[in-house]
Amino acid sequence: MGEPGGATVSPARDATLPPGPPPVRQAELRIPGRLDQLGEASEWLARFADTLALPHEMRYRLDLGLNEAVTNVVSHGYRDAGEHAIRLRLSADGDAVTLEIEDDGVPFDPLAATPSARPASLAEAPIGGLGIQLIRAMLDECRYRREEGRNRLTMVARPRPGPGQAP
């Protein structure tokens, strides 16, 4: 993958060395910036989660982050009818999994939006704005950077005790 330190497996670890931390595992996918690509992106995430045997609650939250972030980019990020691409990167480090989404849309920091107040009734409830709220709440760490004309949203999921699991 051409990145320093990006080697994914080192099966021939020198037996005389003390065992190091388990290797960082990575995956990358480029998709056209269209909503009909979300299914493939979710399947790619599921395959990565399978190889790591990720707990269901973690894969669910990463899948939600992926779906909401890509939906936002495609729905609001493009000001022209040209072709766009979105780069998705997954990496596992210890029991944390990081999902990075890089797009060439207009500058937009989803984390800068002020969370809206909870509506008291159905009549007052706005239809929309839920995606970013879900990203913030369901992922354990979110960062945004604008770099070289691209938006980069980084989301980290760590295991959470959930229903049916020991706290």
Binding site: Q133, A137, G162, G164
Partner: protein
């Protein structure tokens, strides 16, 4: 995503959704769901037991139908979401706007008095 509709006691509509309620899944059922729920005064149980994933676009469909129903004097309740779906519903505050039940009997009771028009 699949959608099955049946009528249960007291004219209550039981809508059973199954599959992933992501962008593609929601688009697949949105028209039928909205037509069923938003066109008249109705009492509706939306059964989420077989919904494995719910994105914000699916929540929007639920929310806008529930709003339209309420304006016509109807009502919607949600039934049996899977744990992560329930978690997302509560994170988004949907559960305070559309009641969530874990038992069909209780869901029907919550709809008592909403006669289907």
């Amino acid at each position: 995503m699949q959608m099955d509709v049946s009528e249960i006691d007291g004219g209550i509509q039981h809508i059973r959704l199954s599959g992933r309620m992501d962008v593609a899944g929601t688009q697949a059922i949105d028209l039928r769901f909205t037509a069923l729920t938003a066109s008249r005064r109705a009492a509706i149980v939306v059964d989420l037991a077989d919904v494995s994933f719910l994105a914000s676009i699916g929540m929007r469909t639920l929310l806008s139908s529930a709003k339209a129903l309420a304006m016509k004097g109807g009502r919607m309740v949600l039934l049996n979401p899977q744990p992560m779906v329930a978690d997302a519903l509560s994170t988004a505050g949907i559960d305070t706007l559309i009641p969530v039940h874990t038992d069909l009997g209780a869901a029907c009771q919550a709809l008592a008095g909403v006669a289907a028009g």
